[in-house]
Symmetry: C2
Subunit: 340 residues, 2 copies
Amino acid sequence: MENKKKSTIKDIAAVLGLTPSAVSKALNDHPRISEKTKIAVKEAAIQLDYQPNYLSSALRKGKSNLVGVIIPRVNSHFFSSVVENIEKVLNLNGYNIIMTQSNELYAKECQEIDTLLKIQVDGIIASMANETTNLEYYQKIKSKTELVLFDRGEEELNVDYVGIDDYKSSHLVVDHLVSQNCNRIAHIAGFQHIRIYKERIRGYKDALEKWNLESKENWIIESNLRLEDGRRIMQQLLGSSERPDAVYVAGDIAALGALQVLLENNIKVPEEIALIGFSDEPFTSLTQPSISTVNQHSDQIGKLTAEAFLERMKNPKKKTINRIILEPELIIRQSSDKKK
Amino acid sequence: MENKKKSTIKDIAAVLGLTPSAVSKALNDHPRISEKTKIAVKEAAIQLDYQPNYLSSALRKGKSNLVGVIIPRVNSHFFSSVVENIEKVLNLNGYNIIMTQSNELYAKECQEIDTLLKIQVDGIIASMANETTNLEYYQKIKSKTELVLFDRGEEELNVDYVGIDDYKSSHLVVDHLVSQNCNRIAHIAGFQHIRIYKERIRGYKDALEKWNLESKENWIIESNLRLEDGRRIMQQLLGSSERPDAVYVAGDIAALGALQVLLENNIKVPEEIALIGFSDEPFTSLTQPSISTVNQHSDQIGKLTAEAFLERMKNPKKKTINRIILEPELIIRQSSDKKK
DNA sequence: TATATTTGTTCAATCGATTGAACAAAAATA
DNA sequence: TATTTTTGTTCAATCGATTGAACAAATATA
């Protein structure tokens, strides 16, 4: 009763009295095959519910048409939006993607890389886990297949990259806070060993200097930027001798944690302390007050990353590296907008 | 300079002066191969950084060792936790998973199914999209490969299934609310065409009846259970002539939306209106007040689903269907706990 | 010593699709 | 009519690993 057999070109060939190779060529629109046979073959293929055996053609062609995508976590609007857009572009070009998440863990990331290499993907698009400092596994990818990075990338890997201008983002944030008459601006930061967070810190410091504002070392606190990190650090800032009048958080989730603590302590946001997050996660517009944040253009990043990947596939040994840096956009919401 | 060639058993054979078949057998611990050769071969394999070509062995064996997992969305703790646990169990058994999301859309789901079938997965584990009512594509999966469902499943598909007792969950919720002296209990529900939501509604009605409570039809409102749905429906309930004193929401995100509206209207939770969600998403313990909810044992569901799948793979033509139903657990938090 | 058994390896076919070369038939050109 | 060109198809090798059968050598048994 169960009829799980799949039909092959052989079956089609048998039905039409042709050879498998003629069928294959007909399906692939080979110029030497007559229109008549092509039509007959394609009809028979539909009749028999023929699905090409991906494994065999991939083996023969030396190309799986699968692309591995590694992201730190998927329950983030930024990453899932990027992946969605990568998928959209790659699907149009005949690729299918396999999405995996590292959960920000180095060990998991290594395991995922091994899996992807094992199933012979044609290339890997990745954004590195927070934990990752050892680049060995990324070197391994490079030695076996193509690699394109987005958002979280390391320059020394010397691969194609798409991201935003993190340094400039901090300037946008600080400039805006200054315009709101803030002058004691703290920064709940990500870890410096990750390039994007280092850049945000550098931008933050330079922007403060630009405005002749004090830059206190204990106003820059690095963390994993989880919700609980935001809460903990905000509490710490509130307890310090000199309270900031604005906090710039390098991630929205941590910013939410910080906001929770502020509200629990009956601190008026933005009047007493203004708050700005990073990434434009959807919930930032839903909180009370809504949270100002930086839009990273996840859709654009996804699209451009996929295009960079396709470019690389077309030209695997091109020496020049493609680095695409997008302009950040500050989204001003209630948490930093002191209307006069 | 770039050295992206991968070594094959041929290379190993050449190095050791053996034939490829001897190498293959040595690597697979064939009994007829001598210990000495096995050791030599395995050593050479490491030396040459040999990775078996997954495509060729999959083709030969007629088995890809890939399992497709389709979930409605990944930015939900429930689903990502289930997938994580499925992956854990399947990895131990030599399978790799390909995770895809339908985004609750029927069209996307169909597309993902086609992709998975195309790349010849050995089976598919899925939880159906909210939108899905046409089971044609799931029938297609059944006709081509193995299928196991969890959480969102349809009985008429007649496949292995793992989920919780949704009917009983509603009883737990209502019983608890009654114990808190609530007697006007509304239900923000999911759509009836999805079995789990239908069961929750049925349990809710029966539990009300059990306690001789009025069951008003306009206190059961179906939706997609997104945040905005929760907000909209809560507003609607507040505006109605007879306000409920408790609201049972069939999803945590919608419950969060409902809570936001309650707080915005300065309604005391749980004193004036008690609130209970569903799924035990992590944020439910972080809100102020924290939200009571139903724990679906996502880790267990993942583990058991994977095991059901493995069982099915071992015995593809077994006629009896495995239906595993777990006990729900009510987690009482501030939003429904009126301490005496 | 002759024969049977065990052991270690090679041979050759296979999975399904692809592809350049070969070939025959039809059409075009000289 | 003879020769070249075009067209439509088949042949055979290939991708890399697997596997049953075959074979030779070593060992055991009669």
